[in-house]
Amino acid sequence: MFGWTLSRLPLSGKIYCTLFLAGIGLGALAAATQAATAVGVSPAQIRSSLAPDMPMTQMGHGEMSAEREIDIGEISNAAKVWIRTPLLIQTSHTHLFGQTLISGLLGLIFLFSALPDGRKGLILALPFAGTFLDIGGMWLTRFASPALAFLVFAGGALFAAGYCLIAAISVYELWFRKETIR
């Protein structure tokens, strides 16, 4: 881009890009661990945290109350985070800002990759697409169908795949690629 490539960056630029990529990678690992412990990463776990609370009684449509005797074991003993709508709003706005900014900075570095423009565009779009799928999937799971919980995992996986590709290609070009003079 503008005649600059990652391999031609000055040492300070290479250090900046490498440390930024490393920091984001560590952050992504921490975020994945946090998601796995607080919510879970299987579609069933995501569904149980995001889907609307399902009645435990057989309260029918139009009924105003229902009672059912239960065994104490039927009450959840899991330290489960249930993401209700106000929390979903909070989570969405912070994650959309944060992840889009991260995707943007990753993309900014990757713009200087020597890859052909089409391939470059495709790869740098992955973290953005993953973010939209991730947050969009949360809303769809809550308001469209709990069966769409897999979208949240798919979005996270897409973001991670995009990051891994960008980081691997960028680090290779920063430190190992020999610039060929045409």
Partner: protein, 195 residues
């Protein structure tokens, strides 16, 4: 290139500011089952009572208590003695504060008097302010109070020594206990939903 570098730097500086606004991770202090068994101690039989508040009931809550429940669907866990007489109910109530959600399980006796209240969930950010309250037996503060009219948060002088944010969260906890009491009053007592 200079312009590009300046843009990249501006974006880089904006990142920590934005991430600092990130909600901190949740801290789960109790599972639902633990809270129910704790607040309905002595109960031999359990049942779940689910009610759907009518728009009239929601309006009544707004008029009388200046607060509108976020959802019309409410769930109460009821505890009964061996002979089936009602010992109490537990409802989970959440407030979404600027620092993230805080959830409290409110235990009530059949007349709506508070049996106890347990903090179920807070966040890593609020935990340092909530933990001292838990250590000061916040669960017992509300016991015996009829919180429908007013809920007294700070009955012990020890709280005066705590951080001002602890006072803020003590008030939040009191308002949650009051909300739980109000929901029981409107959704259960006034309807005569239990037998």
């Amino acid at each position: 290139m200079k312009r590009l570098a300046a843009s990249a730097m501006a974006a880089g500086l904006a990142l920590p500011a934005l991430l600092s606004a990130h909600i901190t991770p949740p801290v789960i202090l109790l599972s639902e089952r633990e809270a129910v068994t704790r607040l309905l101690a002595g109960a031999k039989k359990f049942s779940v009572l689910e009610v759907r508040l009518t728009s009239q009931e929601r309006k009544e809550i707004a008029r009388q208590w200046n607060w509108k429940p976020a959802e019309d669907f409410q769930r109460f866990y009821l505890g009964r003695s061996e002979d089936g007489s009602l010992l109490g109910a537990v409802i989970f109530v959440t407030d979404f504060t600027i620092h993230g959600p805080i959830e409290v399980a409110v235990g009530l006796d059949p007349k709506g008097v508070v049996r106890g209240a347990s903090v179920v969930e807070c966040t890593e950010e609020t935990y340092p302010w909530v933990k001292p309250l838990v250590d000061l037996d916040v669960e017992k503060w509300f016991a015996g109070q009829d919180c429908r009219a007013h809920c007294e948060a700070m009955k012990t002088g020890k709280i005066d020594t705590l951080h001002p944010m602890c006072h803020f969260y003590a008030e939040i906890l009191a308002s949650l206990v009051q909300k739980g009491s109000v929901l029981y009053e409107v959704g259960v007592t006034r309807r005569g939903s239990t037998h």
